[in-house]
Every structure is written in C-alpha cells, then in structure tokens.
Amino acid sequence: MKSFNHIYSLFKKDLLLEVRQQYNFYGILLYIGATIFVLYMAIEEPEPKVWNGLFWVIQLFICINAVAKSFLQESRSRMLYYYSIAGPRDFVLAKLLFNSLLMLVMSLLSLLLFSLFLTNPVQKILPFIGLVLLGGWSLSLVFTFLAAIAAKAQQNAAIMAILGFPLIIPQLLLLMQLSNAAFKPELTIPIDIVLLLIALDLMVVLLAVILFPFLWKD
C-alpha cells in the first residue's frame, strides 16, 4: 500500500510537471506533425504495405523523442532527493506508468494525423486502434528502461537508438504482421501474437524492476 502511494505521487509529479511545462508536450506534438507533413510532401498515397512500415517507424522515432527526456530531466540532486523518499522500484514503475500514458496519447494523435494526411488503408478500425495502443505501450516500456541506462551513462538520445533498435525489432515485426491482418478484411487478427506481445511487455516491466536498483545507486 505504501509503495502504491509512492508510485502514485511520483506519477502525479510527472503529470503535473508535464501540465505546467507544456513546451515539452507541444514539442513532441510538433515533431509528430512536422514528420507526418514531410511524409505527406514526399509521398502522396502510399500502398498499405508502405503505410504500415512508415507508420511503425515513425512511432519508433516519436517514442525515442517522447521518452528520452524522462530520466535526463532529473538532475543529480533531485535524484538524491527521490532516493531518500522512495525506493528504486517505485520510482521506475512510476516512470514506466507515466511514459506509457504519454506514448498512448501520442500514438493516438499520430494515428489521427496519419489517416488525415496519408489516407487510411485500415479495414478494421477498432482492432487497429487497440493495436496502436499496444504498440505504443510496448515501445514506451522498452525505451523507458533504455532512457534510464542512457541517462546514467550521461549520453544523449542517440545512444538510446543504438541500444534499442536491435531489441525492438521482434516486437516491431510482430506489430507489423498484426497490422497487415487489420488491413485485409479476409484475415483475422491472431490472438496468440497479441498475447505474446503482452507477455513480452510484462517481461520488460519485470526486468526493469529487477535491474533498475543497480542503475540507481551511485
């Protein structure tokens, strides 16, 4: 119960910061808008296969940008303060929770802009929205943990890409395969792959909870 309270207040702190310093939120929003506009200029009406590939790669880059600052913004002294009031597990869980929420919002917005500018080849709208949310969640979890590593190594967001891209390939492949099923009315979305993705996400959370205490100590 106590750790639940800790997680909740750390989560609320991140949310409040986001609401007060809105430049960050709008920054990511502008990033999404500008990227999709460039794509719109570059290609007019992509085929479903191209649309699918572009959509997930753009999600990947949005995720890196949205999640990267979550640990980098915490200064050394502030980390010391968190250290004295909360455990590392609560801290990383709060971050995972907050970044998941942030990425869910961003995924939905980018889906909206994508279908607005680049047409919408999706046949099954509702399952695809679910898929986009699941994908956003998966990406945010992996990259939150890598952001923690990058912040501890005092590196910029570029190292997150190096560290993360090989790790995210299987999840992206699964997501693209599921999205392909959502594009064609005759295919059903295989539920076992969805479950596999959820299992992978839970594994990432578990690994983060086990490994973060080792990063945290200085």
Binding site: I149, Q155, F165, I169, P170, F214, L215
Partner: protein, 241 residues
C-alpha cells in the same frame, strides 16, 4: 612431478581442444559425406559454419553469467570477464557470417546474378536476422561500456544492459524464425543442428566433436585475453601508485 600433474589438470581442456580441432580438420575433410543435390561437397562446411554460431552463443551466455556475477558481488574482475567473452563472441559471429557467405555463394545465390545483387534477397533470412540482432546488441554493449569513464559505473551500467539485452534476445531468436520463411534446413521445428533426424550419422561423428573443439578454443582465447587485460590493469595501477 606434482607440477606436471597439476599442469595436466589445468590444461586438459586446451589439449582436448587442439586434438578435437585436428580431428575436425582431418576427418572432416577426408571422411565420406552424403552427396545431396545443390550441396555436394560443400556440406563439409557444416563442421565450421554451424560451430561458429554455437561457439558465439556459448561465449555470449558466459558473458551474461559474468555480468550477473558482477552485479551480485561488485567484483570488477567479472566485468573484465564479461567484456572479453563478448568480444571473442563477436569475432566468432563474424567468422560465422564469413563461412556462411562462402557457403551461400555456392548454394543459395542465384547463379545468373552477381552476389551483390542477390544479397538483399538472401539477407531476409530469419537465422541471419537473429544473428545480426545478437551482433548489434553486443556492438552496442561495447560502445555503451567504452563511453563511460568511471570504472565502477561502467561495469554496473554495462552489466545491466548486457542482462536486459540478453533477456530480450532469447524471445527474438524464438519469434523471428516463426515470422519469416527460411532457406535454412529445419525451418519451423527450431534448431536444425540439434535435430537428430536432419543430420546424417556419419556427419554427427565429426560434427559434435567439432562443436566442442571450437567452443573450447573460443573459451581459451577469451581466458588469454582476460589474463592480458588484468595484467595490463595491474601494471597501470602500479604506475599510478
């Protein structure tokens, strides 16, 4: 006498490695092999190509085990172990690609196309992708590790990444082959080399000793590199003191 006995106890696996590799090179090239269409005599590459991958995976597993040991004890020795095993693992991975590329150019590649043009078709191959992901992870590990100057911090952060990445690598190797069609034998049933139905009895006679021989060689090279690294670090410490 006791020294000699002691030496034998310590070095038996090095001797075994040399003997097994001599056996691999002589019997592997001389013994009879099944003649399959398309493969013909290139099938002997099995004793080299597949063994490289086995050795790479064993070395990466040893590297992760040392990372875990480091996080349990915070003894910097294990950090050196983890890094050196990873480096030698990468070398074996690259050798695996090289032997695979030679094999591929005689079997899979389209004879009407130059090798460079058939690359993108052949590279979309689950086993190649799995190996590429593993190598990318360990390259990233080396870059991350060498970008941190503080010794304790470097060891801690790179150990955490090593464990995290390795834990993600296993589902990858399991998932990717089930998503893409493969030219490798074995297809969906998993690992072709371990499937006893796939491999001829005569070849198993050389293949299993070859795997053990190459793996022991990999471990041997790693231990030499570790000794060198630890000696260098000791020397540096004495110079600064």
């Amino acid at each position: 006498m006791t020294d000699e006995k002691n030496y034998m106890q310590k070095a038996w696996w090095k001797i075994a490695s040399v003997l097994l590799l001599i056996y691999t090179f002589t019997c592997g090239l001389l013994l009879d092999v099944p003649h399959l269409p398309a493969l013909q005599e290139t099938i002997r590459n099995l004793y080299f190509h597949v063994c490289m991958w086995f050795c790479m995976m064993v070395l990466f597993i040893i590297s992760v085990i040392n990372s875990i040991r480091f996080l349990r004890s915070f003894d910097l020795k294990y950090d050196v172990y983890a890094r050196q095993y990873a480096v030698v693992g990468i070398v074996f991975g690259i050798l695996g690609y090289a032997t695979g590329a030679i094999w591929m150019s005689y079997t899979w590649a389209d004879p009407n196309n130059p090798a460079f043009q058939s690359f993108s078709a052949v590279a979309r191959e689950p086993k190649l992708i799995g190996a590429a992901i593993a190598l990318l992870i360990y390259f990233a590990y080396l870059i991350l590790r060498d970008s941190i100057t503080d010794m304790d911090k470097r060891a801690r952060i790179s150990a955490v990444y090593n464990i995290f990445a390795f834990a993600m690598l296993f589902p990858t190797i399991w998932i990717v082959p089930r998503l893409l069609p493969s030219l490798h034998p074995g297809g969906e049933s998993g690992n072709p080399a371990l499937d006893t139905r796939d491999i001829d009895g005569r070849m198993r006679l050389v293949f299993y000793p070859a795997v053990i021989g190459w793996t022991l060689l990999g471990v041997w090279i790693s231990t030499l590199k570790i000794r060198l690294k630890i000696l260098k670090e000791k020397k540096m410490m004495h110079e600064t003191l």
